[in-house]
Symmetry: C2
């Protein structure tokens, strides 16, 4: 994997880069649609490419490991072959889902034992095992196995957890570096900075992660309930420490405003279920602001969902029609809203890249944060 920074903003830490993987190039900053179980919910693969213009998608190790399972994925020749998405794929480590979805989880030095939320079956995730699993899934970018602390979190627990995460990281690296890439293309491992909302712990973690000298680095444990200002402060603190010449991935973030602020703080990669999950609940992120399409005010608004940028579904369907579909629980409502929201996120980061390249990013960002945050 190669990463080149092509433009560094002069007023803030925002940068525009190019990340080259064996499955194609990624322009950064980028937003990665989440394809939990091998599918970005309610979106066809060709829509990812041609409507949403996604450049990389995410898969969830926990979900894919449980279903369809490694045997099927390996027989298929990896997730790309299985689901037909030919661009790069990043997989998380499954740690977050083990803590949020699985039952009866028990964490030890060795790893985590848990029961599947699907059938109650018992499983064991270790740093080594999770590296092997992501290799078999066929991720281009593999994430380290970590513990994601909740918010709020005591300093002492955050420190203890951080130390475990660091010991696990060494084991991840050891395992990853002693195994081969699968399916004939290169795979790379990103470590994750933890440390909750504590600047001292975040410094320790960022320095430890930086020392590993991997091809990219991630920031985890944010956007878990803390105030946005706190997230920005910690992000700012960590991006001051992480190497400038490696891509930085802020995990699980966030709203359009969060993404814009993250870009200004030197983040290159984002992922979040918000655009798709909220779409399924009728919340639209648009170039004019946030819309709850269930609201009665849209019932006879025959204007396009969002005419503010190029997107077929956003221009083709009206707010009144989408409201009707949403109220009527039609599947097409989830389809339209999901494509729209993801198209909007990808358009937004594309605009950010352009502003970084042409100058004036910061001013545009400050104005845009306001626009995309208002409720219509």
């Amino acid at each position: 994997m190669k990463f080149n920074i092509q433009h560094q903003d002069t007023q803030c830490k925002a940068r525009n880069g190019l990340l080259k993987t064996d499955h194609g190039e990624i322009e950064t900053p980028i937003f990665m649609p989440v394809g939990t179980a091998g599918s970005v919910k309610a979106v066809h693969q060709r829509e990812l490419t041609y409507d949403i213009r996604a450049q990389i998608i995410l898969g969830n190790t926990y979900h894919l490991y449980l279903r369809p399972g490694l045997e099927i994925l390996e027989k298929a020749g990896g997730l790309h072959k299985f689901n037909g998405w030919t661009g790069p794929i990043l997989t998380d480590s499954g740690g977050y889902q083990v803590f949020s979805l699985a039952e009866n989880r028990k964490i030890t030095e060795e790893g985590v034992v848990f029961k599947s939320h699907i059938d109650g079956s018992r499983h064991h995730f270790t740093p080594e095992g999770v590296m092997d699993i992501q290799r078999v899934i066929g991720a281009d970018i593999v994430m380290a196995f970590d513990e994601c602390t909740p918010y709020p979190c005591e300093w002492s627990y955050a420190k203890e957890s951080l130390e475990l995460t660091h010991r696990w990281l060494k084991r991840c690296i050891q395992q990853f570096d002693s195994t081969e890439s699968r399916y004939g293309y290169n795979q790379t491992l990103f470590p994750i900075v933890q440390g909750s909302t504590y600047r001292d712990l975040r410094r320790i973690s960022a320095e430890f992660v930086a020392e590993q000298g991997r091809e990219g680095n991630a920031i985890g444990g944010l956007s878990v309930g803390e105030p946005a200002e706190m997230m920005y402060e910690i992000t700012d603190h960590v991006t001051d420490i992480l190497p400038v010449d490696k891509p930085r991935y802020l995990m699980g973030v966030g709203t359009p405003a969060n993404v814009l602020e993250g870009i200004a703080l030197g983040i290159d990669m984002f992922d979040c279920v918000m655009p798709t999950r909220n779409a399924r609940n009728g919340m639209l992120f648009t170039s004019e602001g946030i819309i709850n399409i269930r609201n009665e005010k849209w019932k006879d608004d025959f204007s396009p969902v969002d005419a503010g940028f190029h997107s077929h579904v956003s221009n083709f369907y009206s707010k009144a029609y989408l409201r009707h579909l949403t109220i009527s629980k039609e599947i097409l409502a989830a389809q339209i809203a999901s494509i729209h929201n993801l198209s909007f996120y990808l358009w937004l980061v594309g605009q950010a890249r352009e502003k970084i390249r042409s100058g004036g990013f910061l001013e545009w960002k400050n104005q845009m944060v306001e626009t995309v945050s208002r409720r219509l």
Copy 2:
């Protein structure tokens, strides 16, 4: 509306025709995807056009009347403007849904009083009212308000019901012909032959319907639980009576085999929820036969869903991937299966048209009925 028969099969009653409406031409025999509440479930409008190659879709008066309601549809400028489908639309009369979905329905000479299955609100459908409703929805083809008898049905009830349906038909025609087409394009009314499974009643009804001299005629009250052979016998009997030079629409039919047999019996138009409803349950109609995609045998079958004809989704996605999505309750499963099944139905009637034109329809039909009916 103009209908021309372009080819009449010499071995059976199958014919290939062209039905011209103000929203475009329809090649017959044709299958019409059902867009109950203004959306063919799980299918984008452009997919209807470019993947499924639908030439006309159906809307349900009962559903559209309740939601979004006539006020919204009228403000939108009709259903075409509302949902963005620019081809012809046929609406049913709502009678069938009133009997199958609504609560506390009460039938009188005047019409039917019922309670909405959505919110329990009380409504009144009359032949006159249902003509006005379909005019406002903006259907190209409006269906008469009838009573669809269940199966089995006593001869005496079938006769009584038939007579009511005929009196209602006269009122439908009176109302329809004394009102104007809406939105600047032509609307036409199809009457419906009833009479349950009784040849004598079907003859009376078919003759009565034929006498009205409308631009097309429909056969209702079949595919409601009677054996397929009985459906074919009654269809054969009725198409012997209905005028040869008008399109004949067999309502609510059916399986791929039912459609092929119907074509051989002189039917030109079909509609059924089966391809989409069964799709959502994991049943696929393919060029090789019927697949239950949930079956474990498909778990590592990485061959396309159906490579037997041109359809993007059917060729792009594998059986194993679709099985995984179905088992995982991913929305994309419903999307793929719905597009596939409808594409298959439209491909099948397209093949039938070609065989009628080129000769050899009957032999092909007999072979195809066997192929499409077998369980894989």
